[in-house]
Symmetry: C2
């Protein structure tokens, strides 16, 4: 009640003081446009003054357009706020800390050339949503809903939706991982899993080892946490073993981060024996590994490649991050961490402190979808689709883009090393002609890679792949000619 | 191919070396139970040795139970891994940093008395899911699905689902907030919003001001970020103004955190004029405020109470965190931050670095549900339901629990201050009789509050409320008698 703290002074007429008080209440925001005022009777009783004094004040305010009486409804504020100069302002720029500033400065979406409608874009490595089996997903929703809809909308557990956790433990066991003494934490995709791990296991200045180049989101997260990143050069086999061992000996890193299958951005699939050697080196120097299981499901060849996590038996030295986001439903943001049981328990507390848990509805839907066999059917379909598209894109690149080499053997993208030409310069020309791609330098730990580029083809039509790659080839030739 | 890196020595028979190599490949995990071995012909060709040597090796291995030939299918590994001692092990305890350790040590779920089936629990302040309108939610799903299902399952934007953002901007404008120059970021509930803000705006050691007591999750997050927390004592009006100003002058805090409506845990609703005075003090000392809009939707009385964010006009000094998790669908984990536009843009980059974005499916479903009017109908229903339950619980407490005072006027819980008796001691007795509640000390910034307790009633039946509160009252009397 706006008059409850109202004190009269003895100098001004009472009706003026009432007018002034109401105006001030409006300007301070306490009374807002549309707020109902107490009736004149209520005010006169509360302040113990004559009702006619209050009526006079209200009439004056109404004639000034400040308030308005509606017959049978009461009196309402009709004026907007006025003294907006006296706003409570803070210079937020000066309040933002180093972490947030790094996140923003490395947020490539904010610095890259703006996408425009009609462009051919090779930037995305997201799955093609037109392949999603939305009818099957709807069935998952309806069957899940019928018996536990209300429960799924209430709070769940930080570790995740139990049936999904159990399903994924089996899923990992089928990949050859010994899950004894291990457990799973459900996260909002790979990104949250990696961020929680870095946030829980490192301090600014800690040294980490990874492939060079590597996944740029992982690089961004490690940089935002002010880690000291040592990239190990890659051959077609994966990390160079000699250089890896040198870094393990000389830098004594806290952890390693490795993407053994369909490595982002190179597409390299580390072969079984090379995997074992890499693992043995980390073990020899007692440096734990975070393994990114990225795109492991997207095997184009039939050979089984065991994850690093499956090669250390009962050992707990490898933390495995799983995500299906490059294949299935990235919009749901569901990923997982498989690791030592006690470590998962600590990470569960961290997850709870960060956002309580991931959406239980989404976890239940994903579980239902995977568990009823729809996932395997879908996988077969997309493997074939993407393999064909990969082969087509690969041959177009070989035909049109003069390159030093093309790495890798699959995934939803192709990584190209040009012959000493800056890919950003090529991009400038392409952009004018409506074609964009990802310059490779963002994947490098050491600022190199300016003559590389990544072409994501998952969402580009065959016609546009053909046209887009031709344009890139032409722009490269233009630059080559201008140099010669 | 397991023999591609195989070198013979000159000492041992070839077949022994082959056996040994296969056993080692199994023990190292390179070959797993069920893996298919190359045929004897393939091995003999590859290694350029006689096929009978390979056959001998395979036969020996088969008689040892290591491998098994299946007619017409090939030869397969049949042994489990053996040398599990030589596992790659890491002592994770020593790798976990201070942040993660604090998160775990303050994770009350891990330290509190374990809930058992059949207990009467006053611990939760989650909504009662049996009130959820799951049929209406299903309709939201089906209508959303029919025209954009596939898009919702693919990647979205870090800031959030556009229609939901626009809806919430209007929703906030209807609460009287001037949204000019402001914007919204969608988060995984209040917890993520607060964690992102603390993570982006503070450094360890920074001073912050909040109510004492306050929301224990907020306390946990501030402690995990090693902030210096200054709690301001509360009266029935909210923060004590004199003590607030003293702290603002003496401590020069970086920010304030305030829960103006249905304060957790006290239930106090700060009145309009007190709000304005609190805001003016923060403005006077140029200290920005994070406002927790918690339970604002759960007004039991009809008076409109404007959020602090609406009282600073065009000013950007207040960051508002909104969440419906105590009323609607907490399992979806959708909340929002309303703040200065430029600040939101930075926080958007932080959100992208942490988990890319919140589930687009959930955001679209929530938008559809709120936008089609179902939300308002639901709100009316639950307000009435919870108000009646509040009144019942309140009178039961007044009848059975000897208290110094009960604070607040609503919400989904009641906060009681006992007469100098430790609530944890009361809890011990109650636990044995199957009744649990939340000891109030976890909400205090300074270790006090051991004679307070919080009773969440949203999910407890009237019968259990009656019985549970009687038990609590009896246990208090026992202790009182034993002291006298």
């Amino acid at each position: 009640m706006i008059f409850s703290s109202f004190d009269f002074n003895k100098k001004e007429p009472l009706y003026i003081q009432i007018e002034h008080h109401i105006k001030e209440s409006i300007n301070s925001g306490l009374l807002q446009k549309g707020s109902k005022l107490p009736s004149t009777r209520e005010v006169s009783e509360l302040l113990n003054i004559s009702r006619s004094t209050v009526v006079t004040a209200y009439e004056n305010l109404e004639s000034n357009g400040v308030i308005k009486s509606l017959k049978g409804k009461g009196t309402f504020v009709s004026l907007e706020l006025k003294n907006e100069d006296k706003a409570f302002n803070i210079k937020w720029d000066s309040k933002i800390n180093n972490y947030a500033n790094i996140c923003e400065s490395l947020d490539i979406i904010k610095t890259e050339l703006p996408w425009e409608k009609g462009m051919i874009s090779f930037k995305s490595i997201a799955p093609d949503e037109t392949l999603f089996d939305t009818e099957e997903f709807k069935r998952s929703f309806l069957s899940t809903w019928s018996f536990q809809g209300d429960k799924l909308l209430n709070y769940g557990y930080a570790q995740g939706y139990k049936p999904l956790i159990e399903y994924l433990l089996m899923y990992m066991a089928n990949k050859g991982v010994n899950t004894d003494g291990k457990d799973i934490l459900i996260t909002n995709g790979f990104t949250e899993a990696f961020d929680i791990l870095i946030n829980s296991l490192t301090e600014p200045g800690d040294k980490v080892i990874c492939e060079n180049p590597t996944h740029n989101t992982a690089l961004k997260i490690m940089r935002a946490h002010e880690l000291n990143i040592f990239g190990v050069e890659m051959t077609q086999e994966g990390m160079d073993l000699k250089k890896l061992e040198d870094k393990l000996i000389n830098e004594k890193p806290k952890l390693g981060f490795i993407i053994p299958s369909y490595h982002n951005p190179t597409g390299i699939v580390m072969k079984g024996e090379h995997r074992k050697k890499v693992l043995n080196l980390f073990e020899k120097y007692a440096v734990p590994i975070i393994e990114d299981g990225f795109n492991e499901e997207l095997l184009y060849s039939s050979s089984h490649v065991p994850p690093l996590a499956s090669l250390c038996n009962k050992g707990n030295g490898v933390i495995y991050i799983g995500s299906l986001s490059k294949i299935l439903f990235p919009g749901l943001r569901i990923g997982w961490v498989l690791a030592d049981k006690k470590l998962i328990s600590t990470l569960e507390s961290v997850k709870r402190a960060r956002n309580i848990h991931s959406s239980f509805l989404d976890q239940a839907l994903l579980f239902n979808y995977m568990n009823n066999g729809a996932f395997n059917k879908y996988l077969k379909k997309v493997r074939k689709h993407y393999r064909e598209k990969y082969n087509f894109t690969f041959s177009e690149v070989m035909n049109h883009i003069p390159n030093e080499f093309i790495m890798g053997e699959g995934g939803l993208h192709i990584f190209v090393k040009l012959k000493g030409i800056s890919s950003r310069k090529v991009l400038e020309g392409c952009y004018k002609r409506g074609v964009v791609f990802t310059p490779g330098d963002i994947f490098y730990t050491d600022g190199s890679g300016d003559d590389t580029l990544r072409l994501g083809f998952s969402k580009v039509s065959l016609k546009d792949i053909e046209k887009g790659i031709r344009v890139i080839g032409e722009e490269i030739k233009k630059i080559t000619l201008s140099i010669e």
